[in-house]
């Protein structure tokens, strides 16, 4: 076939006669009205992705029913006084597939994830409890690998797993293994870290390269055959936090941007504090491999999960000192100041793009998928 021409005169007769060339004459009843899937009244996978639907679930089901002041803060942990001290208390579930991935496994994630939820209140972690839901048929060898990995992560953090529970479900009713970890820690005096403490003028810091974990998983995902050296960044951050607080105890907000990435976390903070979070695209630390894979698949790194990074929102006068303390720590080597807090428009996160434009960083709707468009 030579040149490419659209010769309508040669179309076979059985193709329905075209409507005349103008759109006025086409049948606009062809407008599809897709069923609004979210109104189906059941839980969907999107409810678990950490974005808008998860938030809706919290606001519409859990919060109104469990209502109490501690819960309403909607931090990743609850902090409350006991005796003369303040305890931080948190729980998290891990329903990860694949169970083993470059840089870690579900066990390591489960330990570090809960340690980090404690660390985000400035707490020194004390003890962990762990509950296993095992699927019938899970190879014992895999369980042993996972448990060994958990002990390694806990020991590295100086924390003991002191109590737990085990249940088994029928084959087909679980992804091999589900792990829930619960943690308790001690919050030092003078430390008041909470998602509602961001103030206009504060600086936004991130502790290192973003989107590592999610892209490490995505690269290995079935159907995507990319050759790239990417490892999950899963790590326990409490010693990094301690170093930051030593530089200045007046850290306002700490969050680890896991599911839904920076986008999810920054929107939560913007909402809770009633401020605008302004990010500077050029300052975001990104490894070339992650950037390249994101470009190929059309993914936005702001929406990709991290497992060993934190966002800190700190007063402007303390930013440089805290940044220096982060960079001196092995987990904060590539820390950077990536934005600031403004008063308006409240409840929004937006980006100053590399070409000087602005765009909203919206709350993620569901899992980000590679696009073709």
């Amino acid at each position: 076939m030579g040149g490419y021409r659209l010769d309508t005169s040669s179309l076979p007769r059985w193709v329905e006669e075209p409507r005349p060339g103008s759109l006025e004459d086409v049948d606009l009843l062809q407008l599809g009205c897709p069923a609004p899937i979210a109104e189906s009244g059941t839980i969907t996978l999107a409810h678990g992705s950490g974005g808008k639907l998860t938030a809706d679930l919290i606001q519409q089901v859990f919060l109104p029913t469990f209502r109490n002041p501690l819960l309403e803060k909607l931090d990743d942990q609850a902090v409350f006084p006991v005796g003369g001290a303040r305890l931080a208390f948190t729980t998290d579930s891990f329903v990860v597939a694949p169970l083993f991935f470059p840089g870690g496994d579900i066990g390591k994630l489960a330990v570090n994830g809960t340690l980090n939820d404690l660390a985000m209140s400035g707490a020194r972690p004390l003890y962990l409890a762990v509950a296993f839901i095992l699927e019938e048929g899970l190879p014992l060898g895999e369980l042993q690998r996972i448990v060994a990995s958990m002990q390694q992560a806990a020991a590295a953090a100086g924390v003991a797993i002191v109590t737990g529970d085990t249940k088994v479900v029928e084959k087909g009713h679980g992804d091999g293994i589900f792990i829930t970890t619960t943690g308790v820690g001690l919050v030092p005096e003078g430390v008041e870290i909470s998602a509602d403490r961001a103030r206009p003028g504060d600086r936004v810091l991130v502790s290192g390269y973003i989107a590592q974990h999610g892209m490490a998983i995505m690269a290995r995902r079935e159907g995507l055959d990319f050759d790239v050296e990417l490892e999950s960044d899963t790590a326990a951050l409490h010693s990094l936090v301690a170093a930051m607080l030593a530089a200045s105890p007046d850290v306002h907000v700490l969050r680890d941007p896991t599911r839904g990435g920076l986008a999810s976390t920054l929107n939560e903070i913007a909402q809770r504090s009633g401020v605008a979070v302004v990010l500077d695209e050029e300052s975001l630390p990104l490894q070339p491999e992650v950037e390249g894979l994101c470009e190929i698949l059309g993914l936005d790194p702001l929406y990709v999960a991290n497992e060993g990074k934190l966002i800190a929102i700190v007063p402007p006068g303390d930013a440089e000192a805290i940044l220096a303390a982060m960079r001196a720590h092995p987990l904060g080597e590539h820390a950077a100041i990536v934005g600031e807090i403004a008063a308006e428009p409240a409840g929004t996160a937006y980006l100053r793009t590399c070409v000087g434009g602005t765009r909203i960083i919206d709350v993620p709707a569901g899992e980000q998928l590679p696009r073709i468009c």
């Binding site: 040149g3 060339g21 599809g32």
Partner: protein, 374 residues
């Protein structure tokens, strides 16, 4: 990243924007027809650095969201058949048909797999000889040659269990339909850079010669888009109407003859329905009869889907994709119609004008804009 980062320089963007502002004294309505351009425009926040006289109209350039509902239903019916493995690009998985989506079918136990390339689907067909592996082949002229190559490779290998469910649509006929629309007044087109890599620039000559509108074939980095808008502004200011190429590093006037040969070997033009626009004559591609053995619709002629749809009276997608209205003119955007609960074509996929606007453009800080929605 080479050939990417250099085209994202902020200092150059500023100069280009200033130059455009100098030329665009009168309002200029420019339509980009490609969803990738809609995405780029919003992702880089270009409306916030362009002068208000540049009015960017977002055309129906997203093959994902213009895939007719009944085609998605066919994919779903196929997914439900035992022994069938459906493969699809990521963004098609969530597009709703009448009552479900491929993603939901996967959750219900169907063998639905995301792939990056039609070649991945071909490999699955080799790996699972006892399954019928079907590739949901959507896209414009950019992507059709790749689907064609997959079919040609399947034939060469004698792979009988591979087939494509094709919904390819063509941009130039859609552009003609839009130009023929009485209530749309455009001053120029930002031409689709990657479609043109395949088809070259000859298919657009009717725009300049027949309708007297300039068209500049643009790349997808922010400096490409800005430079193209500048080239359009110059043509409009000079009273010219020509087909120009900004994206000279990949677009040649003759396109890609090898890709065109592959495309023409496997596909032939047909009429096609575009979700949100109705039937556009000669705007689609279907698999030629000699390749029926790899055409899912020929292999499964009995798939019962309905193309009767109730008219959602509140949906204004028809006006929006033609550029007669803006996303924020729609009464239901942000309230009833959101990315989680899409009502019409423009919101169904991330590249639809409404989805892009909702996600990125609701609040153009520092730029004159109607009140934020949602």
């Amino acid at each position: 990243m080479k050939y990417v980062s250099e085209f994202r320089r902020g200092d150059v963007a500023k100069k280009l924007a200033a130059e455009i502002a100098r030329l665009a004294i009168e309002p200029m309505k420019l339509m980009e027809v490609c969803g990738g351009h809609t995405h780029a425009i919003f992702k880089f926040g270009l409306p916030s650095i362009l002068p208000p006289t540049i009015d960017l109209i977002h055309g129906p350039g997203c093959p994902v969201c213009v895939t007719p509902r009944d085609k998605v239903d066919k994919a779903i019916l196929l997914a439900r058949r035992p022994g069938v493995l459906i493969t699809s690009y990521g963004d098609m998985l969530r597009v709703p048909g009448s009552a479900s989506s491929l993603m939901m079918e996967k959750a219900r136990g169907a063998d639905v797999r995301m792939v990056y390339s039609p070649l991945d689907a071909l490999r699955l067909a080799e790996q699972y000889p006892d399954k019928r592996v079907i590739f949901f082949a959507i896209g414009f002229e950019t992507t059709a040659p790749s689907a064609a190559m997959a079919v040609l490779k399947a034939k060469a290998q004698g792979l009988a269990n591979f087939a494509i469910l094709s919904n390819h649509v063509l941009l130039p006929p859609m552009m003609k339909a839009i130009l023929d629309s009485r209530d749309v007044k455009l001053d120029g087109f930002i031409g689709p850079g990657h479609v043109s890599t395949i088809i070259g620039t000859r298919p657009y000559e009717f725009v300049a010669r027949g309708y007297g509108k300039p068209i500049v074939v643009a790349g997808f980095e922010p400096l490409d888009v800005l430079q193209s808008i500048l080239m359009l502004a110059r043509q409009i200011r000079d009273g010219r109407a020509a087909v120009e190429i900004e994206y000279t590093r990949v677009v040649k006037p003759e396109g890609n003859p090898v890709a065109l040969r592959a495309l023409g070997e496997v596909f032939e033009p047909c009429h096609a329905r575009w979700r949100g626009m109705g039937t556009v004559p000669a705007s689609g591609l279907r698999v030629r009869e000699r390749y029926a053995a790899w055409d899912a619709e020929a292999l499964y002629p009995d798939l019962e889907v309905s193309s009767e749809v109730e008219d959602p009276k509140a949906c204004e997608c028809g006006d929006i994709v033609r550029g007669a209205k803006k996303p924020w003119d729609c009464r239901i955007i942000g309230t009833v119609c959101t990315p989680q609960t899409p009502i019409g074509a423009c919101m169904v996929s991330p590249e639809g004008a409404c989805a892009a606007y909702y996600k990125y453009g609701r609040l153009q800080v520092g730029h004159k804009q109607p009140a934020a929605v949602g």
